[in-house]
């Protein structure tokens, strides 16, 4: 019961702020609304007992990505004074995309949970998970990252990608003495 109430409150916050992101004309306010929707998603994760994921969402999306977006918005002067309407002229394509997403979601959800009347529905109750698993979820996540039958390969690939991005950013920021001399 409590979970449903919290879920509905979070959903209202999420949907309203998501609509505000695409309709507000002031880009800075749109970025703020985007942050509110990130917060709503973090709330979903916490509600689903995935506290680590929720906090990572806060740290990465609100602490880093949003700051980056706001910096980008602030640094581009022309964007701040925009008076264009935030709507474009592609309502049909947009409608098609949204409809397709709806169909995919319905197919996926009905495939996982039975929603036909009479059948035993999993939607009404939380799937049974032992509290020990939730308690040690972070340790399990860590082991899954570094075990060979887990996600070792993707983990290493992402690490290499991040390292390459770091090296690239240092290279770009490095002062170029040769060019100045020639």
């Amino acid at each position: 019961m409590t979970q449903q109430v919290i879920f509905i409150i979070l959903s209202v916050v999420l949907i309203v702020s998501a609509i505000l992101v695409v309709t507000l004309r002031n880009l800075f306010h749109a970025a703020l609304a985007l942050m509110a929707s990130f917060l709503g998603v973090a709330g979903y994760y916490v509600l689903l007992e995935a506290g680590f994921l929720g906090m990572a969402q806060l740290l990465v999306y609100i602490g880093a990505i949003s700051i980056l977006i706001i910096f980008a918005v602030m640094m581009t002067r022309r964007l701040m004074q925009t008076i264009e309407t935030p709507f474009n002229s592609q309502p049909i394509v947009g409608l098609l995309g949204a409809g397709l997403l709806l169909v995919i979601l319905i197919v996926v959800i009905t495939g996982l949970y039975s929603v036909t009347p009479g059948a035993e529905s999993l939607l009404g109750m939380a799937p049974p998970v032992e509290p020990v698993i939730i308690e040690s979820s972070v340790a399990r996540l860590g082991r899954a990252f570094v075990s060979a039958d887990g996600f070792l390969l993707p983990f290493i690939l992402i690490s290499i990608l991040l390292l390459a991005a770091l090296v690239g950013s240092i290279y770009i920021a490095w002062p170029k003495h040769e060019e100045e001399n020639s």
Binding site: G51, F52, M55, L59, G63, I70, E135
Partner: protein, 429 residues
């Protein structure tokens, strides 16, 4: 008799159980107990700031050979801050012309919210904490990253270019110092094998300060920077940029930024005490339960925790009273070229050592190995810095014009102030 039980349960910090026994258990009772706990904790945090500001003014005054507040509220000026708060509260609420109303007014609310939310995971005594999250330390980091955003809101919403510049400086500092802070926090997490604050306290039979003094030092320096205290107080450099990002705020809105700064500084002291000084632990006395089943030990734990917290907080004030402010490039350079590499090496070394030490090793031996490792890394870092410094000095001595001025025929005077490394005066051609 009932009153006596009530008093006993208050002294043993066990009011929740008393309420449960008196009014019966149920979701409603639990909800009320939770709301009561939140109210008590947040009111305490907001009110202790009044005392903290008075304490800071008194201690700083003593360090600077002054008396400090001594008129309002008796000889010690105890009511000075109360009067100040009254003044702030009675000020007119002002919105600057051209300010972004939402951002301008949201920033002070959010920053106080963020600094209050962090207290949820701080354990005050055995069994007395807001919530025992299994990701406690990570939760603190995530919440404190919200305060970075509020600085941008305040700076941008004020419609003042100096506020915006101040916010840029502040964000650069806070984002940079989050890195060594997270890396330093990994060390106690590795040692305790949990991220829960209560679990970390339980693991500290020997306080982690003795295991990893270097990690404690790095965490302390970066928490100084994160809360914007002197030597890193370019957020609010009174003598340079007046107030940085909150220059356009007045009255209680300004007061809320101050409030958040003091709550944050006290929280960081408490967090340091929890992670490195054993939190509420006081030689096992904190678990003492009396014969009639009251946990009087909790009050000992509470006193021990507050004593540790205020010792750390006193060092905050001490540092503020003695160290000068750094330039912004020095702050960032010290972080990226000093703290981050050292803490990376430290995390790597501690993780390796923790795996290599067999599990049956006595705790004292384990502590000594870790301590030796920390001292070794600290010594190596200092040695590298010393060599580099000497290299830079030597280079500047070799280049004519950068070293001491060499005047023909006055070679003896030129080499007069003897540094030991001064080269021979150049021979006259």
């Amino acid at each position: 008799m009932n009153i006596l039980d009530l008093l006993k349960s208050i002294i043993s910090l066990d009011l929740g159980n008393y309420i449960r026994e008196t009014f019966g258990t149920g979701p409603g009772t639990e909800f009320l107990i939770d709301v009561g706990g939140v109210l008590i904790l947040s009111t305490f945090c907001l009110l202790i700031v009044v005392f903290l500001i008075w304490l800071e003014r008194k201690v700083l005054a003593r360090i600077q050979d002054r008396i400090g507040p001594n008129r309002v509220g008796g000889r010690y000026g105890l009511l000075q801050t109360v009067a100040d708060v009254m003044k702030l509260l009675s000020k007119e609420v002002i919105n600057p012309a051209g300010a972004d109303w939402i951002a301008y007014n949201l920033a002070p609310i959010l920053i106080v919210m963020a600094s209050l939310l962090m207290w949820a995971v701080l354990p005050f005594a055995p069994g007395v904490f807001g919530v025992n999250l299994n990701i406690g330390v990570f939760y603190v980091l995530a919440i404190s990253s919200i305060s970075v955003m509020t600085l941008l809101l305040a700076g941008w919403g004020s419609n003042n270019k100096y506020a915006l510049l101040g916010a840029f400086r502040a964000v650069a500092q806070l984002v940079s110092y989050e890195v060594p802070m997270i890396l330093a926090l990994i060390v106690p997490i590795i040692l305790a094998r949990t991220m829960s604050t209560v679990g970390i306290i339980d693991a500290q039979n020997i306080p982690f300060l003795f295991y990893a003094p270097l990690s404690a030092l790095i965490f302390y320096i970066s928490s100084l920077a994160e809360t914007g205290r002197t030597p890193f107080d370019i957020l609010e450099a009174e003598s340079e940029i007046v107030a940085g990002f909150h220059i356009e705020y007045g009255g209680m809105k300004y007061g809320m930024f101050m409030l958040a700064e003091f709550i944050g500084a006290l929280f960081m002291s408490g967090f340091f005490a929890t992670l490195y000084l054993g939190g509420y632990r006081f030689f096992g006395l904190e678990n003492w339960v009396s014969a009639d089943g009251y946990t009087y030990g909790r009050i000992i734990g509470l006193v021990a925790f507050f004593a540790k917290m205020f010792v750390v907080y006193f060092v905050f004030m001490w540092v503020r009273g003695t160290l000068p402010r750094l330039r912004v490039d020095q702050i960032l350079g010290f972080n990226w070229k000093g703290l981050v590499p050292v803490s990376l090496v430290l995390v790597l070394a501690v993780a390796l050592a923790d795996k290599l030490i067999p599990s049956g090793t006595p705790e004292v031996l384990r502590m000594l190995i870790m301590l030796g490792l920390n001292v070794l890394i600290a010594w190596a870092a200092l040695e590298i810095l010393r060599r580099r410094g000497r290299e830079i000095r030597d280079e500047s001595d070799d280049v004519p014009g950068h070293g001491l001025p060499v005047v023909e025929g006055h070679g003896h005077e030129a080499g007069h102030d003897d540094h030991g490394v001064t080269p021979e005066p150049m021979p006259a051609h």
